[in-house]
């Protein structure tokens, strides 16, 4: 570090190294964690389908005041397993849209029991009221069944993929998602290039590279870990605007999980940085006294 040009060159490369280390950590984490399987596991762990079931039940309870259709007509035909399948299918559909860059195709499986319950209710009501079962009657029954499926579909779309698509956000995310692998490889390659540049700049005293890499890793780790710890410590994601329980849980649990993982990676960077710095210190001291041998006894 005696030559000013070597020092300044190393400093400049280290600045980029710090930034690429942070970017690589984030890209790797997103690559590993933002996947269909991880999202399905998270939904299972957070029991999101239970929340969806309760929301649908509450929706029909509230709706009774205006529709006059008792909640039991719907809920007796909707099992928890059925909702769980709907939630899983919707998450898969959202990831299909992300991967293929196509529109999200959310479908709800046919539910014969639900359809039958609605038909029986209307039939009993029509008979009780002496209502003639004409075209209007059939249309009304059909509309109610369609609306029931639509309600299930809307509630089980916990990541609101349909809404994101409607607002043209999903397409933008999809473009980024499709390039995630090449982006990650690119950032890791940039890291390697920075290390190689450090080796070239410090070719006369290669051990110094350990110092630059060490302090870069420490600073990158601190720069990532401090804001992440603040986010976790203040429970920042709890201020998420959408308070619909299933959507809130789906999004905040994913954000907390990612931030926790990112914090762990940053702490690992700090540890690696400290190790490199310690190795440098030891090696540096040794290299200074390499000609001095202990007295033979």
């Amino acid at each position: 570090m005696n030559k000013l040009s070597t020092y300044l060159g190393s400093l400049a490369v280290s600045v980029f190294l710090v930034l690429t280390i942070i970017a690589a950590s984030a890209a790797l984490l997103l690559d590993i964690n933002v996947t269909r399987d991880k999202a399905l596991q998270l939904a299972e762990r957070e029991m999101i389908s239970e929340k969806v079931y309760s929301e649908i039940e509450k929706y029909y309870t509230d709706k009774y005041g205006s529709s006059g259709i008792p909640v039991s007509v719907y809920m007796d035909g909707i099992s928890r397993e059925y909702i769980n399948d709907c939630v899983k299918n919707n998450i898969s559909a959202a990831f299909n849209a992300l991967e293929k860059g196509s529109g999200v195709d959310i479908t709800v499986a046919k539910n014969d029991k639900l359809e039958n319950n609605i038909k029986v209710f209307f039939n009993n009501y029509a008979e009780k009221e002496g209502y003639i079962k004409d075209e209007k009657y059939d249309k009304k029954v059909g509309e109610t069944i369609t609306l029931a499926y639509k309600t299930i579909k809307t509630h089980s779309d916990v990541y609101k993929a349909a809404a994101l698509q409607e607002h043209k956000v999903l397409g933008k995310i999809s473009k980024l998602y499709g390039k995630r692998m090449s982006l990650t490889i690119g950032i890791i390659a940039a890291n390697l290039i920075m290390i190689i540049l450090l080796l070239i700049i410090n070719r006369k005293k290669k051990v110094t590279v350990l110092y630059w890499m060490g302090i870069s890793a420490i600073i990158a780790g601190i720069s990532g870990a401090v804001p992440s710890l603040v986010l976790l410590g203040t429970r920042f994601y709890d201020s998420f605007s959408i308070k619909q329980p299933s959507v809130f849980t789906a999004y905040t649990s994913a954000m907390y999980k990612l931030t926790e993982a990112f914090t762990a990676v940053c702490i690992a960077c700090i540890v690696v940085g400290i190790i490199l710095a310690v190795v440098y210190t030891i090696t540096y001291d040794k290299s200074k006294h390499q000609d001095v041998k202990p007295t033979e006894l």
Binding site: L19, G68, K140, D238, F240, Q244
Partner: protein, 227 residues
Amino acid sequence: MDKKAKNRLIHITTPFILALICGSVTAGAMIKPYDKISMYMNLAFMDELKSSPEDADSGLEIKDNDIITDFSGLTSSKGELIYPSFGEMYAMLDSKALETSVPVYWGSSSALFDRGACQSTGSVVAGGEGNTVISAHVDTFFASLDKMKEGEKVTLQTNYGEFTYVVKETIKFNKKDGKYVSPTDDDRLTLYTCKKDILGNMDERIGVVCELKERKFYNSGEGEKHE
């Protein structure tokens, strides 16, 4: 300063210099996208109270008041309106057709609809100038609203006065049609509910428009004796 000390100083200060440069570079690079990012962030994370979904419902503070129904003091046709807070029961609605007194809450939510009739916060409070819009469920408090006839008397009692309306017309409209729930130049009371017909159009609403006939503000000073 000897070479060793100088070297140590460089080794110690370099990480700080590096951190400072990285911070500055990041801050500089973020100046432009900051506005856009902060807008999205503010929208996505706007709940400063950080309430959980379970607490979010409890954000509604329902307040039940004792409404004066037997005021015997002085009244006048002019007085001060008192605007309630969201979720506050501030009036009692009476009419022959409804059979029972219906508590009126300021604002609407499923929890409030379970307790009484709800008044749109975009409308004027009872006795105010303009349209007072009140709705309730057809299976509970407004089950008999369809029985209300033209000329029938409807009263709204509050803690600041009693207001008498008379049914002027019965109405039928689609829930998306704002004609009857919009502000009006005349002083009126609009009551509505869903149409009690499971096989009919669920979006159809029925109700009555009532004309304000008398304002009686409760006074502590001069005025007429309330009967």
